[in-house]
């Protein structure tokens, strides 16, 4: 099956069948990347540029590894060290990359909608690697891949997403994507960090973390985005951790062997104590592995679509 759009901008823009196709393709990609010979020629002769206006370890490296495993030429550019620091506009920067015969631009930007804006202005396929507080679709896809791999289905599973929802593009993308795949998502966090109308994305908003976690198959913590806090949304990290952290006691309310997930990077002792982060129920490192497979799948499918045009 072919993806409908030139770009991957968000889970909002994907239909359920497209999500299923990406997850299926990622299974094959995972076999490739975990085999002895991590090399395919799926993207041979293609070029991938990662354009990051915000810091990143996993997402950026993951895109780079994924393109290398598939034989693409890849390059990285970030805001510091490029002409962005001389004041070049996002559009000019993106066009500059585009006209170097670039096939895929994976971009991260602090402004919601920045990849949508660029997608309209470049020939390359744009993959949203996180835009402001809007979406982070490849993160949601790798989270869903991880859930499906462990639980065998997404349909009907119960997922608790807890923490700083307001600033979280991960929460939005997961809520939207999981709802499309039939999962039941419950969201909890401080009211000052709960944007209005989250339930319109297809999830249930509950007041207490306990209510979200109770009976869940998956418990996902969200990073407290201290760098995005412009106003006083909570009194102290200590109080936040006291009421909103996923503690072992909290986790005991979920189903036995419920998966513990976190998009990373984790503030240990804030979103969850290290004992939970490192517990046998934690699949946090597997999420990272799966991130490479999912990004291989996304790039493969976008290029397959492009080749058919």
């Amino acid at each position: 099956m072919r993806l409908r759009n030139k770009d991957l901008l968000g889970m909002k823009e994907l239909e359920a069948e497209e999500i299923a196709e990406i997850l299926r393709t990622a299974e094959m990609m995972k076999m490739v990347m975990t085999s002895g010979n991590k090399k395919t020629s799926h993207l041979q002769g293609k070029s991938v540029v990662t354009l990051f206006y915000e810091n990143s370890t996993r997402t950026r490296l993951s895109f780079e590894m994924a393109s290398k495993f598939m034989g693409a030429s890849s390059a990285n550019i970030s805001a510091s060290g490029s002409s962005v620091s001389k004041g070049e506009s996002l559009l000019d920067t993106a066009r500059t990359i585009d006209v170097m015969s670039t096939d895929i631009i994976a971009m991260r930007h602090s402004q919601s909608g920045a990849p949508h804006y660029i997608a309209k202005n470049v020939k390359a396929s744009v993959i949203n690697a996180g835009d402001g507080m809007n979406e982070h679709p490849t993160q949601a896809l790798l989270d869903m891949f991880t859930m499906k791999e462990r639980l065998s289905t997404l349909d009907g599973i119960e997922v608790a997403i807890c923490g700083d929802v307001y600033h979280s593009r991960v929460a939005r993308s997961n809520a939207i994507g999981l709802a499309k795949m039939g999962a039941k998502v419950r969201i909890a966090g401080p009211s000052t960090m709960m944007p209005p109308g989250m339930e319109k994305l297809g999830c249930k908003v509950v007041r207490r973390v306990e209510d979200a976690v109770y009976g869940a198959d998956v418990v996902m913590g969200l990073r407290l985005q201290l760098e995005r806090q412009t106003k006083s949304l909570f009194p102290s990290v200590a109080e936040y951790a006291r009421y909103y952290a996923i503690t072992p006691q909290m986790l005991a309310l979920a189903k036995d062997n419920a998966l513990v997930m976190h998009p990373g990077p984790c503030n240990h002792g804030v979103e969850m104590p290290t004992v939970v982060y490192d517990s046998p129920q934690s699949v946090i490192n597997e999420q990272v592995t799966n991130g490479v497979a999912v990004r291989m799948a996304v790039m493969y499918l976008l290029m397959a679509r492009r080749n058919q045009e």
Partner: protein
């Protein structure tokens, strides 16, 4: 110059009449043969439109718009008088800037310009500007538009001091501590991951200004009302005799926050586009005259300030060339307002509020006339605008009420063959 306008129908109603203009006034009859006879073929004749709230960007931001281009655009929209807000560079907060605007207007403008002076020096919200001296040079009101008068203390003093010079204070109502956002706060801002501006930000300051007006017994004018809650408070205040007046803009009765979807920066305004219930409340407010007038808030921007990331884009849209057509198409055609109500909202009331002695076609009045085609629809095209700017969300809209002729002070400022 003697002009005879023949065959036009006043407000598009009744039988055709002849109107006479001599020099710059409406007259009962001409003193001799007309220099020009213009057959209006039954089109609708209105007192020239008056825009009590716009931005001409001159001086300081002429790359967006200037007095010549802005008033050509205004004339194309049927406006004969416009009131530019003081957020120019330098700020219109002293008599010499007012004087320079008025002088330039006299030389190059295609519409009457009645400047609005700043409430506070430098729009800084600290010290009162020189209302008396500015009024001597021609201001008709004071406003810090774009910035709310943040403290109740300064707002109180502005209302008191302005009243000494028969000026009104027009306040952009937003409690700024709540207004740190890029669009209306709600499920759509959540879905798009944009910081939201709650309706409460606007309502709180409207409540404050009504309270001050009632306490002081002095008038206050609320700029570009966009919320249901604000309209309800203004309605209740008027009912108990508070001297509050209000305006809104066409985008608040035509569009909702849904237009922001796809990160369209031409839907980015301040106050932001709201929900459908607010849009309907704006229409209801105009219908029962809770909202007294329609203004454009014409806000020209350069493409470099609009064709960028959503939250970084400047607020506002151009409005002169669509205001009447949008109001006619969305308010009068569906029956929410009568044609006379529309003329009140876009000409009669602003003249009364700002003491302009206009808004009438009676003889002895300045010859400010606008003629519209109310019968035939047209497609609005942004590439045909006379403004320097192109930031409009209405490109391609099918509208009624195309301007056929605009006469300002007896001079033809826009003409499309009738």
């Amino acid at each position: 110059m003697k002009i005879c306008l023949t065959g036009g129908r006043i407000l598009g109603e009744g039988s055709p009449v002849d109107l006479y203009i001599e020099d710059n006034m409406m007259v009962e009859k001409l003193s001799g043969t007309p220099d020009r006879v213009i057959d209006l073929h039954g089109k609708a004749v209105f007192p020239g439109l008056i825009d009590a709230h716009c931005h001409l960007r001159d001086p300081g931001f002429e790359y967006r718009e200037d007095i010549a281009s802005g008033t050509r655009s205004a004339a194309k929209g049927g406006f004969t008088s416009v009131c530019p807000m003081p957020n120019t560079m330098p700020v219109c907060d002293n008599p010499s800037v007012v004087r320079s605007i008025v002088a330039k207007a006299k030389a190059v403008a295609s519409a009457n310009i009645f400047p609005i002076g700043a409430v506070s020096k430098g729009l800084a919200g600290k010290e009162l500007a020189e209302y008396g001296l500015m009024k001597e040079e021609g201001i008709v009101a004071v406003s810090d538009d774009g910035k709310p008068v943040a403290t109740a203390d300064l707002m109180r003093k502005a209302m008191q001091y302005a009243s000494d010079f028969s000026l009104i204070v027009m306040n952009h109502c937003e409690e700024m501590s709540l207004a740190d956002g890029a669009m209306n706060e709600g499920d759509i801002s959540t879905e798009m991951g944009l910081r939201g501006i709650p309706t409460a930000a606007e309502d709180i300051m409207i409540a404050r200004d009504i309270t001050l007006s009632e306490y002081l017994g002095l008038p206050v004018h609320i700029c570009h009302v966009s919320t249901k809650g604000g309209i309800e408070m203004i309605r209740a205040a008027k009912a108990r005799g508070v001297q509050v007046t209000a305006e809104t803009c066409p985008h608040y009765f035509v569009l909702t926050e849904d237009s922001c979807r796809g990160f369209d920066t031409n839907a980015k305004m301040n106050p932001p586009l709201r929900k459908e219930e607010d849009r309907l409340a704006v229409i209801q407010g105009l219908a029962d005259k809770t909202i007294d007038m329609i203004v454009t808030d014409h806000a020209p921007h350069h493409p470099d300030e609009k064709d960028i990331e959503f939250a970084l884009a400047n607020n506002g849209i151009v409005g002169f060339e669509t205001a009447f057509s949008l109001a006619y198409t969305y308010l009068v055609k569906p029956g929410h307002l009568s044609i006379a109500d529309l003329s009140d909202a876009m000409s009669v009331f602003p003249s009364k509020l700002l003491l302009l002695n206009r808004g009438s076609l009676d003889s002895g009045k300045p010859a400010d006339v606008a003629v519209f085609d109310l019968e035939n629809p047209y497609i609005f095209r942004k590439d045909q605008m006379l403004s320097k700017a192109r930031n409009t969300p209405f490109d391609g809209y099918e509208l009624y009420g195309e301007t056929m002729l605009t006469i300002t002070g007896g001079r033809i400022t826009y003409e499309k063959l009738c």
